[in-house]
Amino acid sequence: MNFTTPKHCFEMLVLKEISKSFGGVKALKAVNLEVRAGEIHALLGENGAGKSTLMKVISGAHKADSGQIVIDGEVIEHNDPHLAKVHGIGIIYQEFSLIPELTVSENIWFGSGKKTGWLNRKKMDSDASALIHSLGFAIDVKRRVAQLSIAQQQIVEIAKALSQDVKLLILDEPSAVLGTKEVKKLFNLLYTLRDQGVSIIYISHHLDELLELTDRITVLKDGKTVATLETAAADKDKLVNLMVGRELTQLYPEKPDAFPDDEKIGIEELRSGTSRQPMAFDIRKGEILGLGGLVGAGRTEVLESLFGVTHRPPAILRWQERSVSYRSPREAIRGGWGMVPEDRKKHGGILSLSIRDNISLASLGQVANQWGFINHRKEEQVVRELVDRLRIKVGDIHSPLSTLSGGNQQKVVLAKWLNRNLNVLLIDEPTRGVDVGARSEIYHIIQQLANQGMYIVMVSSDMEELLGMSDRIMVMKNGELQGTLDRAEFNEEKILRMAIGAN
């Protein structure tokens, strides 16, 4: 191969025929990508398409098996994140890469600062503080990162990436943990950077975001570039078609008009972290109760206290004339509750365990005899049925969960609960980081469960999802209930106003 690169290139970054495999998995198959100076370039693709891998190749976290990276006309060969920094590449990884035990300012300067020598802590702190302010946020830079909320951590990541002059900024799904307000701020920041001539690669599964923010979009599929198009010339259908190779059926399922019976679960005395007032609300049978609010509003905590995860005095549940409260997930599950937690990798799935073991973990009793011995044949049959029902893309149900793409992992975590006869299912951020195709399938499954008469509570930071899926929406702010909206009253602006307390 012979590439001649003109000295004054319009393209700031050119990737030529980049390939990368992990053992037998070919993550990238000769990918080409061109990013212009001063543009925001979107990267789009299904879970497992190879987006993050490609970015890690650029940042030097992975070494490509073959191919070339050209930055400003200069061919660089590296597998060293430090060298990438020298070349002006800043990156925010999909997985957090902060150091919990260090302070905010230490994290910001970690790696980009001096490689050796003594620290001037005062200067570090004041510089870090100024940097965060200049981005439009406020965080105490002397706090340890472990003490911050996830959204704050994401902001620290952004500050860290911008702590030195960058020519190219890569953001791998930065909005997944940010609230609407923060996303707006982030977009403004990115516009400013673009206007200063910085190139930006932006990865997200939210098509709306991409259409609003970016200048061009490159679609990746199965480790190959499918197309690069001007955003102005793109629309959702086109993108989805390029991405999944088929027309997308309706994203959100049909909602039922009415609920057959009027059974409900009454929740009383629910106390979550910061709230002074205990909360009280109802969950209706067969409905999807959406829980909205800004990030950190305390929605996860509501689910956790219902499910007995936290050690606070548990909420009191009134249900079918009985009054119960769960002190542990174990009790909640015995009572017919299930929860799909927010952090799929940490709390939902067990990555090193097989898909089969993951799916049957919460319902081993169903496939075991009275002595507790598991009937492997029965277990596998049950697991296969669920895999088919949820259309989980797996080669072998005995391979570890970690081999699946994000969307499929999410489905596995969901499948875990479908093998029990659940009454109530709590779902926290059901599609965080999940691609559009898989998302639609997950939505249909959830709706189907509701139609079968399950009580469902769904937390979501994705406004569209919240509006599209919920039968009612409860909005929270600072650990307190702001109000409840019926489907007829759904309105994005209204919800936002409630979430920031401006109603």
Binding site: V309, R330, M339, G348, S352, L361, L364, A368, F373
Partner: protein, 306 residues
């Protein structure tokens, strides 16, 4: 199946060692020596299986060496007070209780396993000395049947080896076919996810220390059975041998990984190294050196093929 055996590095190491041993010493494959070897590894085998379960959950049990000693002393002392069978049961119970204390601290009080069992190692060792007043205690004549456990054999196979095989089979089956086994493995992989799946993580964690205590007590009785004496200063450093066996068996100290079959191989590998070096008249200083080097090589080999 075949493929999996070929991929099993522990097995390869084991077979290699077996081959080398058979060629370097003609005494190695004699019936006497094999019987001896089996007798020698039986107690440490039991302990290692218990250790393996603890390590599967991501824990560690440093108290085993002390339990061995304390249980042995207790049995010898009890042999003057109660009937043989009662002595057996009470000694096993002692192991269970010590394991339960470790388990309680680790599972319910959140003390790091390393430090909880380190403290118990000290305490239990002290207890053994206190009970025995520092001197070895000979087993009373009414309980001399214990010698069967150490030296008896059935059809030429040492009783202690048969017991080890039995425990191995039970643990193997439980890990593969029982809900409890599944839970142990899952906890070592991701404790929080297991808790959220409605499994009592505390109870499972607690239980593995109890099992370890029980199996170690059994091993302690075997040791008494070999000598007829309960010795308070026996088994110092044994925990390290057991851990080494588990790790040579390919398990990860972070939990969730490994098989009981390979743990057994790890035990046999370590036992064989010691045995063949004795047969080859390697001085004990040199033995230490070689043993250390072999452990390193084995672990690097484990990693290399992964």
């Amino acid at each position: 199946m075949k493929e999996r055996l070929l991929k099993n590095n522990t097995l390869i190491i084991f077979l290699l060692l077996l081959l080398v041993s058979s060629f370097t010493s003609e005494s190695f494959l004699t019936i006497t020596n094999v019987t001896n070897l089996l007798r020698q590894v039986a107690p440490i085998g039991l302990i290692s299986i218990g250790m393996f379960l603890v390590i599967l959950t991501g824990g560690i049990d440093l108290s085993v060496g002390s339990i061995i000693a304390c249980v042995g002393v207790a049995f010898a002392l009890l042999s003057y007070e109660v009937y043989f069978s009662a002595g057996l049961l009470l000694s096993l119970l002692l192991g269970v209780v010590i394991g339960a204390v470790s388990g309680y601290l680790v599972a319910y009080r959140g003390v790091a396993a390393f430090i909880a069992t380190l403290a118990l190692m000290t305490i239990v060792r002290g207890l053994g000395f206190l009970l025995s007043k520092g001197a070895p205690v000979t087993v009373g004549p009414h309980s001399s049947a214990i010698l069967q456990l150490g030296t008896g054999s059935v059809l030429g196979i040492p009783l202690s080896a048969i017991l080890l095989a039995l425990v191995f089979v039970i643990v193997f089956i439980v890990l593969k076919y029982h809900v409890y086994g599944r839970q142990i493995i899952a906890i070592g992989s991701n404790e929080e996810a297991v808790r959220l799946s409605g499994i009592s993580v505390e109870r499972v964690k607690f239980s593995v220390y109890v099992i370890s205590g029980f199996l170690t007590a059994l091993a302690g009785l075997m040791m008494v059975g070999r000598t007829g004496v309960g010795t308070p200063n026996i088994g110092v450093g044994l925990e390290l041998d057991a851990i080494a066996a588990v790790v040579i068996g390919g398990a990860s100290l972070f939990g969730g990984k490994g098989t009981v079959f390979n743990t057994l191989l790890g035990v046999l590998i370590l036992g064989m190294i010691g045995n063949i070096m004795n047969l080859l008249d390697i001085t004990s200083y040199m033995q230490q050196l070689i043993k250390g080097v072999i452990i390193i090589l084995a672990v690097i080999f484990q990693k290399a093929q992964q």
